[in-house]
């Protein structure tokens, strides 16, 4: 039997991260937490970003720490073309799928 193609999915947290990254510049994990106004938590944002990187929605590059400061290089995240496309499709289809309640 032919194998079905993998369906691309987007969780609410992933969608929020992509929204934040597409509307602004590339961001660090902590910047995303601050920009989300409490909707993303410190402990989970990195796990979500790691999963999104595996799915190919975001890409990250290490940024050298300031000279003579030491420490680990920070990782800065930006959306990939696939991530932008998934967000666009997901947001437009979600508009049709959300039920409308009579007022």
């Amino acid at each position: 039997m032919a194998r079905r193609p993998r369906l691309l999915t987007l969780s609410p947290k992933e969608s929020l991260i992509l929204e934040l990254l597409t509307t602004g510049d590339a961001m660090y994990g902590l910047e995303l937490v601050t920009a989300s106004r409490g909707r993303l938590k410190r402990g989970t944002v990195y796990v979500t970003l790691g999963r999104m990187e595996e799915k190919g929605y975001v890409t990250s590059t290490p940024e050298a720490p300031p000279p003579d400061a030491g420490g680990l290089p920070r990782r800065v995240y930006e959306p990939t073309p696939l991530g932008r496309r998934v967000l666009t499709v997901w947001s437009s289809s979600a508009r049709y799928l959300v039920p409308e309640f009579p007022r």
């Binding site: 660090y28 410190r42 402990g43 796990v47 920070r74």
Partner: protein
Amino acid sequence: MKLPGGRLRSVAARFCSVKAMERLIDPVLSDLQAEYREAVTQGRIWRSRWIRAAGSIAFCKVLAFVAFEGTIRALSALTDEDRRLLHNSVGIGGGCFAAATILVTLPPARHLPIHTLPYLIPQALPFAIPLGVTFAVCCGLGGRSLSRRLQGTVLVVALVGCAAALATAGWLIPAANQAFRVTMAEHVRQTRGVEIDLRRGPSEMTFLELSDRIGVLTEEGSAREAYTLSRAYHMRLALPWATPALAMFALAFLPRRAVPVWSLAAVACGACLSYWVLLGAAVTAGRDGTFPGAAAAWLPAIVFTAAAAGRKIVAAAARS
């Protein structure tokens, strides 16, 4: 300036893959260091302390996720033979666990109203869990060579059993004991018209309540009572560690060549019996004051773990 996270990173590097370090651990720690550096540069000491604490909690959450993901991956990467052995062991362990629970619960339950039975079951669990795991390892995995991955999986299962037993000893048993006392007190009041004092004793206290009570007694100068409670506290804290200690012992001393099942069952019986006899002897010595009470509770777990580690080291030295 000394940045936080260096030690945490070296601990994580021992357990995590390069990919997990790059994608999960390093981003948490690098952000923690950058935020900490900024706070210290601005002279905001309390903020820097808060950042250190919040960053460490975030690090622990990420590490827990990596451990969980690693366990799932290890289970899915087991070979068909390993999986069959694991299924066998789970069956044997489950059977022994159920039998031990029934054997410990039923004798006292015979003389009690049937609705008190659920309150007696938690008492059996700290004994039944290590017994079930030891029999599962000995009878399900004994007599053959085991892959490292399968041995790791067994240890993870033993640690999960330890956590379950710890939760049972710390919270479930005290709650069940108190509920049992309330039920029986009501029964006695109705049948004989006698009121029973329902204040919580050491067996009805959770870990935190016991610890607080020991502190109060020590402050009041009641050293003898504090010592008695301290022994009970350590006993309940140490008992759940029987599961990983016995699992490690069984993995280290199991025969690798084919042997009859009854001899494997005898090894399991011997290991469990030795553990409880050693515990009983140490507790008696602790009660007499010839041995420190807290150390007595931990002695069997330490002895069995040390024996297993010693055997592994000797085997590794012989191989090399």
